[in-house]
Symmetry: C2
Subunit: 228 residues, 2 copies
Amino acid sequence: FIEIKDLYKVYRVGSEKIHALDGISLTIEEGEFCAIVGTSGSGKSTLLNMLAGLEPPTKGSIKIDGREIVGLKENQLVAFRREHVGFIFQSFNLIPTLTAKENVALPLTFQGVSKAQRNKRALALLKQTGLYDHKNHKPNQLSGGQQQRVGISRALVVDPEIVFADEPTGNLDSATSAEILTMMRRISREKNQTIIMVTHDDHLARFADRIIRISDGKITHIEEGDLA
Amino acid sequence: FIEIKDLYKVYRVGSEKIHALDGISLTIEEGEFCAIVGTSGSGKSTLLNMLAGLEPPTKGSIKIDGREIVGLKENQLVAFRREHVGFIFQSFNLIPTLTAKENVALPLTFQGVSKAQRNKRALALLKQTGLYDHKNHKPNQLSGGQQQRVGISRALVVDPEIVFADEPTGNLDSATSAEILTMMRRISREKNQTIIMVTHDDHLARFADRIIRISDGKITHIEEGDLA
Ligand SMILES: Nc1ncnc2c1ncn2[C@@H]1O[C@H](COP(=O)(O)OP(=O)(O)OP(=O)(O)O)[C@@H](O)[C@H]1O
Ligand SMILES: Nc1ncnc2c1ncn2[C@@H]1O[C@H](COP(=O)(O)OP(=O)(O)OP(=O)(O)O)[C@@H](O)[C@H]1O
Ligand SMILES: [Mg+2]
Ligand SMILES: [Mg+2]
């Protein structure tokens, strides 16, 4: 379903070269919940950004549902993401002038969904992440973990086929994290969603079907999760 | 050294009232490494912001080294922070146009330290957080955990008497987190620094001398850390 072949990403800063991704090949099945684990700076966010088409690789191929993502034009990538992808960012990226509910409903506006339907979906997702009582708060009226949960609700509101999650529970306590991951796992089973979650937390990675370990831009190890 | 008495913070959003801090009283000794633990939304960041004078409480008193912080004017609070405080933010707050080294050196410019000295201190701290090789990267050329570590180095560069740390390792893997906390603990012992660290991670809280548990804006529990 997702086929990654010989993926490389080299950044240049001044005269130095950084091999953020150093030859990644991997296949991810449809409906799979896949965790990518590694230390700070190992290449996790870079890999996710490539897969979501947010940044081009230096070389290599990424096929999603048979379609080559590398080399698509910007408008094609935007259309692809709008139709198929939900993205949970490492640094939230909420719109500061919109409330929690409006932030969650926003992706549905781009899909031409009616206002009544958007509100209904957004409120349902805010309930699932425990934020119903905070629906009218703006981001600066929310705690760090609450902002993170708004980002999670927003990514899920379009019922995406693929969810890319970059450290989705980095700002949450372990009880809330476990609740969120259990919810995401259950939703993905119901809707056959593919989830690719980056995390530095081994303990949380065990919620996934498969754990891919990455170090210095290379895959070092692949193992099964606890609930596979 | 830090005396908190009957601290309350009530936020208003539309017609609703949020009791972010609901009666906090606590004494923190000089040189103590104190962890504040609680779930998402329990009031941790709010408490830290009050202690650093970044926001006024609704009522209550905060005395630091005998001096009442509540009610000070903005310029007095700015001067107090510049002289005595290092703050590690939950969302990094780096200057996007400056490199890692320049971001770390910045607080020293406000203290009138010479350029040679600033560079020397900044590089020393970047070495301690494992970022020497990334000193010339701007924030958008750094991973999430690397940005967090720049924030940590910046807070420590002025040798502050008090370090306020809001989830300082939320974006770091457990090995890097343990290294960072061990380093912070060692520095605080050497310089008799007081560290007040907010974290949702029980495991990391054990690096502290004392663990203060907070829930719905109230203290529920105080216990000793493992290394006290
Ligand atoms: N400016 C504000 N206006 C309204 N409510 C606020 C504001 N700031 C915080 N709150 C609310 O106060 C409560 C405590 O927030 P706080 O940021 O202290 O939580 P926290 O313990 O740091 O949580 P986290 O672990 O998620 O960062 C939350 O319910 C939050 O929504
Ligand atoms: N735009 C860029 N320019 C230069 N170097 C970059 C850029 N983006 C990332 N890097 C570097 O590439 C490496 C991998 O970064 P990446 O963000 O993928 O790490 P990560 O595994 O997500 O780390 P973390 O757990 O800290 O978020 C890091 O060494 C980082 O400094
Ligand atoms: Mg990252
Ligand atoms: Mg917080």
